[in-house]
Amino acid sequence: MLSIKDLHARVEDTTILKGLNLDIKPGEVHAIMGPNGAGKSTLGYVLSGREGYDVESGSADFDGKDLFDMEVEERAQAGLFLAFQYPVEIPGVSNMEFMKESVNAMREARGEAALSSAEFLKKAKEACKQVELPLDFLKRGVNEGFSGGEKKRNEIMQMIMLEPKLAILDESDSGLDVDALQVVAKGVNSQRDGKRSFIVVTHYQRLLDYIEPDYVHILSKGKIVKSGGPELAKEVEASGYAWLKEGESA
């Protein structure tokens, strides 16, 4: 699905990722944990192609295609989804219009016919239900006046509607109370079908109580310094990230 080899990337003049390797097979859930400033969000932006995040060296193969050779929207159309940590507002554009354009852009790229309004509405209603958002949510401007929790649930709703091959969740748990966290987790779990893969980026182990990962990676200073199973997340929960520094000084 995704194979990242020796990735070096920088933001403006600062190199953030320094030789990152990661292999994700279909159906797998990989959690990426690490202290602030480790490069967790940068990874999501580099993979999705955000301007200002420049690849210095290394490669990323996404389903047989060179990810770094594609435009942002081409990567999205190929099935790469990023759930934003801080989703931005688009005033005056309703969630409904936005998602209809989005769903149909993806369909067009796959050579499929656009959804009719009725078909789209049915799909949108189901997605709303899954993340427990009221239907009138669709009529509101994209993220306009949404609470933090609503924004995060909206991201998951979009993911459900777009059915990506690989979803990167960038701190989708930050700022959520336990109830909202469970809703987000439930939405993600409903999409685990043995084929779709996930990268769950998080600072805390908390989210991983609800979304059980297959692998946990610890990212520090732009590299994966430790990989393991779900038990690794529990270790972090117990001892924090302080050991990373000790390891360094040792």
């Binding site: 999205a76 934003f84 931005v88 507002e89 554009v93 852009a105 994209v142 979009q158």
Partner: protein
């Protein structure tokens, strides 16, 4: 990002073609003789010729205004031709079958079929080509309701009393430089009369097309809504792509008598000039409406074209409880310049006005909102609300706001809100990450920004306006 947006903004101008039509065109130049000849050409009564000459004499004594936030080389009024008409129109075709097929094809290419069976149901069209009206559709159906909808040149002859009574009452001959020029040389335009208590059974619309080179277009529109009547009217405008600047100086007068309502919408897409500001239309327009008791006038405009725009559709709220509205979207790109807004003159008691202005600037363009709200001494309990939003695309454009508020009545309330925002990298990235190309993304963000105004357009045209913005923002993304 800015590079992508620049690409996305390299617009195509779909209406930029020239029609091969044999025209009868006056040689350039303006003096009293030209006006007399023009008036004779149109077979006008003596009073009209005299009216024009009076306006011309006033114009001679006036100075071209220079207070607007626009910059353009001085117009040489002697280098413009003041009359141009397709030769085939000389014999005045009686029906569509007699109209030059090339003319009909021009309108078809612009998406305005003039055969009634092909038209948008419920929209009557007056098509004005250079200096003359080509055809007015659905006239019989309108006549049944007592509605008059015809070229103003025809109204001068057929309904002289009505024209005499109202022409120049809202925008006087010597109102301003461009209005005086228009009064002297206007060639055609539409005349609308809605009798007492009648709700006009369909949308009325006029489609203006400049075709001939080195001509000016000076159209004049007069709409009179008698007591308790209602009409919704729309105008559209396009011109070929040419290297020279062309002048368009129109006057629109609206008269809404007691309890009447006039809704006037404009979708203006004159040729804006090329990337470097070469060519394009100078759009210097005076539009004003007069509201009697309980009357309402609503101006909605979507302005995407013209090299320079100087335009302030206004309302004189003379009658008590009358209402004025102004909803505007003005998009400038390339080196376009727009100085546009409105004037709300509150004279009567409890008069109300609402101003919603959305300015979008891209490229190296300049976009200014200029608005006056005046509360007269008699405007007891009057209210105004103004919202003025600017959206910047890229970092080489400008947005300016010049609000003027004058209040002579302590009970009047004036509110003014203004915002300036940018199409942000974050918004673009979100859209692209959801599979939209940058062009589509910019157009969606801009459409969202304009939503409050599009809501005010008649349904068929709201869709058209949305598409127009999309085309205006469209181009090849490299």
């Amino acid at each position: 990002m800015s590079e992508q947006i620049d690409q996305a903004l390299k617009r195509k101008y779909d209406a930029g073609f020239v029609s091969e039509i044999e025209s009868e065109t006056f040689p350039p130049g303006l003096d009293e003789d030209v006006i007399r000849r023009l008036s004779a050409m149109k077979d006008e009564p003596e009073w009209m010729t005299e009216w024009r000459l009076q306006a011309y004499r006033k114009w001679l004594k006036m100075e071209e205004p220079d207070w607007a936030h626009v910059d353009y080389p001085k117009v040489d009024y002697q280098s413009i031709s003041y009359y141009s008409a397709p030769k085939s129109m000389k014999d005045k075709p009686k029906s569509l079958d007699e109209v030059d097929p090339e003319l009909l094809r021009t309108y078809e290419k612009l998406g305005i079929p003039l055969h009634e069976q092909e038209m948008l149901a419920g929209v009557a069209v007056d098509a004005v080509f250079d200096s003359v009206s080509v055809v007015t559709t659905f006239r019989e159906k309108l006549e049944e309701a007592g509605v008059i909808f015809c070229p103003i040149s025809e109204a001068i002859k057929k309904y002289p009393e009505l024209v005499k009574k109202y022409l120049g009452t809202v925008v006087p001959k010597g109102d301003n430089y461009f209005a005086a020029l228009n009064s002297a040389v206007f060639t055609d335009g539409s005349f609308v009369y809605i009798p007492k208590g009648v709700r006009c059974p369909m949308e009325l619309s006029t489609y203006f097309r400049i075709n001939e080179q080195n001509t000016g277009q000076f159209e004049r529109t007069l709409i009179v809504a008698e007591e308790g009547s209602y009409v919704s009217y729309l105008e559209g405008c396009t011109a070929p792509q040419r290297d020279e600047n062309q002048l368009h100086a129109a006057v629109v007068e609206l008269v809404a008598l007691d309890d009447a309502e006039i809704k006037y919408s404009t979708v203006q897409n004159w040729y804006p000039g090329d990337e470097d500001g070469k060519g394009g239309i100078y759009n210097f327009v005076t539009k004003r409406g007069l509201c009697e008791k309980n009357a309402k006038i609503s101006w909605t405009q979507v302005e995407t074209g013209s090299a320079v725009t100087w335009k302030y559709p206004s309302c004189i709220l003379k009658g008590d409880n009358s209402v004025g509205e102004f909803y505007s979207v003005a998009l400038t790109r390339g080196k376009q310049q727009a100085d546009t807004g409105t004037k709300m003159i509150h004279l009567g008691k409890n008069t109300k006005s609402t101003i919603i202005s959305k300015g979008i600037s891209a490229g190296r363009s300049n976009n200014a909102y200029r608005g006056l709200v005046r509360m007269g001494p008699g405007a007891e309990g009057a209210r105004n609300f103004t919202e003025c939003d600017s959206l910047l695309i890229g970092d080489q454009c400008g947005a300016h706001t010049f609000p003027y508020i004058e209040s002579s009545n302590p009970t009047a309330i004036v509110e003014h809100e203004a915002t300036t925002s940018k199409v942000s990298d974050d918004q673009l990235f979100l859209c692209q990450q959801r599979g939209l190309d940058p062009e589509k993304a910019v157009s969606m963000i801009v459409n969202g920004f304009c939503k409050e105004v599009f809501r005010e357009l008649p349904m068929e045209f709201a869709v058209e306006a949305g598409k127009l913005l999309e085309i205006s923002l469209e181009g090849s993304v490299g």
